[in-house]
C-alpha cells in the first residue's frame, strides 16, 4: 500500500512538470508511454485514464500543440507505470483482503 501511494505521488509530480516541446520530444514521450501501457496490458491491468491521456496526447500532437502532447504522453506513461506497480503489489497484497 505504501509503495502504491508513493507511485501515486509520482503521478502527481509528473503531471505538473512540463517544458517547451517539439515533434521529436513528443515521439520519445509517446514511445515511452506506449511501452509502459503495453507492459500494463501484458499484466491485464491497464487503466482507462491512461488510454484517455494517450488519446489526448495524439490529438494534441495532430493539432501541432507539442507542449500539451508531451504533457499528456508523460501523464499516460506515469499512469501506466502506476498501474504496473499496482498489479505487482496486488500480486501478493490481495491476500490481505480475503475474508477470514
Amino acid at each position: 500500500m505504501r509503495l502504491f501511494a508513493a507511485v501515486i505521488g509520482f503521478v502527481c509530480f509528473a503531471a505538473v512538470t512540463q517544458a517547451a516541446s517539439t515533434q521529436s520530444d513528443f515521439d520519445a514521450a509517446l514511445a515511452g508511454a506506449l511501452a509502459a501501457e503495453k507492459d500494463a496490458g501484458a499484466l491485464k491491468n491497464q487503466w482507462t485514464t491512461t488510454e484517455q491521456a494517450l488519446a489526448a496526447a495524439k490529438k494534441a500532437a495532430a493539432a501541432g500543440d507539442f507542449d500539451a502532447a508531451v504533457k499528456q504522453a508523460k501523464l499516460a506513461e506515469a499512469l501506466a507505470k502506476a498501474s504496473i506497480a499496482q498489479a505487482k503489489e496486488q500480486d501478493t497484497a490481495w491476500k490481505a483482503g480475503v475474508i477470514h
Binding site: 500500500m1 502504491f4 501511494a5 501515486i8 505521488g9 503521478v11 502527481c12 503531471a15 505538473v16 491485464k44 491491468n45 491497464q46 487503466w47 482507462t48 485514464t49 491512461t50 488510454e51 499512469l79 502506476a82 498501474s83 499496482q86 498489479a87 496486488q90 501478493t92 497484497a93 490481495w94 491476500k95 490481505a96 483482503g97 480475503v98 475474508i99 477470514h100
Partner: protein, 281 residues
Amino acid sequence: MLRVIAVLIAALFFAGARPAAAADAVNPDADFKAFRDYFTKKFPKVPLNDFVNGPYSMDAGLRKQWEAIEDFPPYDFAVDRGKDMFATPFKNGKTYGDCFPNKGIGVRQDYPYFDLKTGEVITLELALNRCRETNGEAPYSYLKDEMASLTAYMAFTSRGKPFDIKIPNDPRARVAYENGAKYFYSQRGQLNFSCASCHVQSAGEHIRTEVLAPALGILAAMPIYRSEWGGMGTISRRFVTCNSQVRGVPLEPQDENYRDVEYYLSYMANGLPISGPGARP
C-alpha cells in the same frame, strides 16, 4: 490532479477498512464458511436466501419499487425470446438443448464448472457460444441481446434450485479457484478498488441512491434487466462494467480471469437459490 489525490485518499481509506488479514493459502471450505459468516454477521436481519436479491434485501424503499416492477418485469421479453431460441433448431437440425444435460432445462445452478478434460472453467455463457460454434453457428456477443435472452431462459427454468458448484480434486481446479479469489480481491483501476472494496467491505452502503449489492449470491439473479442500462445484461457485462467503473480497462468478456472469478463467487454462493433473471436499478 484532484482525482489522483482522491484516489490516494480512497486507497488509504480502504487500507484501514479491510477485514482482519491473514496470508494463508486459499482453502475453499474455510473460505466458504468465512465468507458466509461475514455476510450473515454484517446483515443479521437478512434471511440467508434473500441475499440473492442484492440491494433489495437491505433497503425497504428500494424493495417496494422492485416488487412493483416484479409485478410484470421487463425481462419477460428476454425469457420468451430465449425460449423461442431454444426451440428453434440450428441449420444442422441440432438445438441448444442437445449441448446440455437435461436439454438445458433447470441446469443453471451447475454453472460454472471445472472441465477436467480441457483444464478450464466453463461458464454458461461460454458453453452457449461453444454450442453454437460446434454446430456451425457464429458466436454471439457475450454482453446482452441474444446471449442474455438464452441465459435468462435457462435461469428462469432453474429458479429456486440451489447453486451446486464443485471444485474437483485436481490441482488445476484449485488454481482456477484461487485465481478467481485473487481477481476478486485485487485492487485495480485508477480508483484502486477491488471487487471486494464495493461488494464486501461496502456492501449495503449507498452510492447516490444505489445500494451496493453484497457479493454473497450476487450472480444468482443474472442475467439482469438494469434500468441504468435500459435493457438486459449478462454476467460478462456486469464484470466489464465493474472494471470500467473503477477506471480499469476491462478484459475481454469470458477472459480466463472473469471465468475464474465467476467460479469463485458461485462457489461462495453454494446452497443459495437461482433467482434470475432479475431486475436491478
